[in-house]
Symmetry: C2
Amino acid sequence: MPNPTAAMLVIGDEILSGRTQDTNTNHLAKKLTEIGVALREVRVVGDEAEEIIAAVNALRVKYDYVVTSGGIGPTHDDITADAIAAAFGVGIDVREDARTILATNYKNPDVELNEMRLRMARIPDGATLIDNPVSKAPGFKIGNVHVMAGVPSVFHAMVDSVLPTLVGGQPLLSVSVRFDMPEGEIAAPLATMAKANPDLSFGSYPFVKDGRFGTNIVVRGFDQAALDRAALDLEVLRDRLTSG
Amino acid sequence: MPNPTAAMLVIGDEILSGRTQDTNTNHLAKKLTEIGVALREVRVVGDEAEEIIAAVNALRVKYDYVVTSGGIGPTHDDITADAIAAAFGVGIDVREDARTILATNYKNPDVELNEMRLRMARIPDGATLIDNPVSKAPGFKIGNVHVMAGVPSVFHAMVDSVLPTLVGGQPLLSVSVRFDMPEGEIAAPLATMAKANPDLSFGSYPFVKDGRFGTNIVVRGFDQAALDRAALDLEVLRDRLTSG
């Protein structure tokens, strides 16, 4: 059975303007890879309801899981929860369980849990809450869509809350062999190896260091013994190319 | 007239597996913002022809410019150029102008410009080349789609080659005011300010530092004087909230 698939939707003008470097995607990607869920697509859209709705609806029918990041805070530009409700065609309002959790974050909730903060207790009908041990305001899950915060420390905590609830697959394993030569010198034998090992995927990742080109060859697959054999073959190839 | 729009398509399994943190998007976002082109959407897909073709065709009809990153090297997993040709329904083959440029990268091109490296001279029919001062192998432009390398130093050089050819708009300016308090305490007056200034966009970006929540308010717009007034209003608000 193939591994479950996932998509990530990053929401926020600050990513598109270049003000903020998204790192949540990379964090999620690593965590999903570990449990054998294949992240297949990422999208980034701005704080625009129509764009969020269209992206969520495109992704949730195509992949087993969708994770979103951003736009669930208390300010006027936090519109993710309402957009998700619209995407699913359900209502949304302040929910008592979310309000109760949120209140535990404040010494004096009657004063501090103001109207804007109460926006963080707006949960689409039928959604279940996602625990946020960092700052209480919960994320939520509706259908196969997991709606999480954009602040990295909160996003990470929510990922930790959600991961045990996902059905994973076979963890994708990898080995990496570094060649201190440009990939054009490895490409032909690498293509031959890739063809001879259809159960493994061979990725070639060139880099520039101190003005010289090098290449990391990363082999991915589900069988550690097959990966170890591929790594050995690559090392033999490297020795031959280096001495040749 | 509204500013021209753009989308970025990042291509590569290494981004989706979490092995590599994409930074090309952030670089492009900053450069486009400077020249008044609005980056509106980003997608990341793996090294799969069908996914690349679908994404390119969705983005190129929706935005003024599309930039892609990744998958134009010499190895078997570099399939971007062929996928782009398929997306446009045109042929692709080794092209003499690209081969000539590529040859300048090698001391002994008759030997070094091997069959796999020649893949980097495969250019879709009708495309124009994008200069690559770092490692010669050119990118290309077809229609409104700019196809560039994934290695950051090469991507940056290609962005520098392409930027002067884009029709920009009014540069989007911004001011930022930092509040050492959670955004829930600023949200209500901020919503009022946003409503009173429809020509400006007010973004609220919470952060956690040394275990304490803070908030950067970023105001964006095209009129520096209006931004300066907004920054002053925010500073007055901050003083009031801090002393209150």
